[in-house]
Symmetry: C2
Subunit: 202 residues, 2 copies
């Protein structure tokens, strides 16, 4: 297919669709043809819900997860353990931890990782809000689930000290061989972490 | 990832995204997180261009292709041969023919195929407009590029008679083995068409 059959307004929509992850020129064309040649009702519904989400979605005032009111669903929930706080780098990471089903505490979403070279310091990450949260005296454990990169580790170390100054236990999620991972396919950095963090067999 | 971390407005957007071709639950989640956690500017641009397209895109008054003014890009073009008219079933099919680069005439887009059982007769396909077009006396050849299905063939036969009544030549696109197709993988119906439509070797 060639873009030349699309009038200017649809050509602009094609461009706008391509910013979505996993959408290239061909799939954008398929989407436009599907919306306008076959399913205008679906396109109207998408336009409406996207516009509504854009006006109402904002960071949760407590944890900075995506919310469409003052608080996100997790902060609103009464069934979570308020003594545990898991720090993640982004809403996607929160969703990943949540889907593991292994965590029932609360979250705090940074807006990235400490990266002094890029001008990202404690203020940019919203750490002031996190410090206030720790000062409330409810949290007993700060679980550091930042990514396993240089910046992620630096962020975890910084946050760990912040917790320890308040006598709050700080823990870091384990690094090691992924479930089902064959040793011969695991990179050497992961393998050396897995060795360093080896556990006593019960 | 689990949908439970998304507030109601984003859950509704997730549902709306899933109507797009090739978008399932996981890719819809990835799109929402990308738009709202990382690229709000891209989401705003998408919302704007989708809303604009929805208000301005409509069928071309001459050929029923998607257009954002009175005429589509092809009907507006002065470089096309007005004596050839290619009939296709949908804007997607027009885009496919156009991308072949093998056709320089004009088009007419049906809104589907004749299917009496589904209540789709000549009026539903906009054939009145096509008849007027043929009556203008400019078209010399009507190329029937409807699909190679029972309804597509019935539609082609009906349109062919419509052209012949006006002494306009009607042609049907060839059916046969696709380019690069290995005979052992081609279905028997295609193969029997390819045999029936065999050509003299020059």
């Amino acid at each position: 297919m060639t873009a030349s059959v699309f009038p200017p307004r649809l050509a602009e929509l094609l461009e706008a669709l391509k910013f979505l992850p996993g959408v290239g020129p061909r799939s954008a064309e398929r989407m436009v043809l599907h919306m306008f040649a076959r399913q205008p009702e679906g396109a109207r519904r998408l336009a409406r819900s996207l516009a509504e989400a854009l006006t109402s979605v904002r960071p949760c005032s407590r944890c900075r997860m995506l919310a469409d009111g003052d608080l996100c669903l997790i902060c609103q929930s009464t069934g979570r353990d308020p003594s545990q706080l898991c720090v993640v780098e982004s809403p996607s990471d929160l969703a990943a931890v949540e889907s593991s089903g292994a965590y029932r505490g609360l979250f705090f979403v940074l807006s990235g990782r400490l990266s002094p070279l890029d001008g990202i310091g404690p203020e940019e990450l919203g750490l002031e809000k996190l410090e206030k949260r720790l000062d409330e005296g409810v949290i007993r454990e700060l679980i550091l689930a930042t990514s396993a990169t240089v910046e992620g580790e630096a962020t975890a170390a910084y946050l760990g000290r912040m917790a320890q100054r308040r006598d709050i236990r700080a823990t870091r999620i384990a690094q090691g061989v992924p479930l089902g991972g064959e040793l011969s396919y695991v990179d050497s950095g992961t393998l050396s972490s897995a060795l360093a963090q080896r556990r006593q067999v019960d």
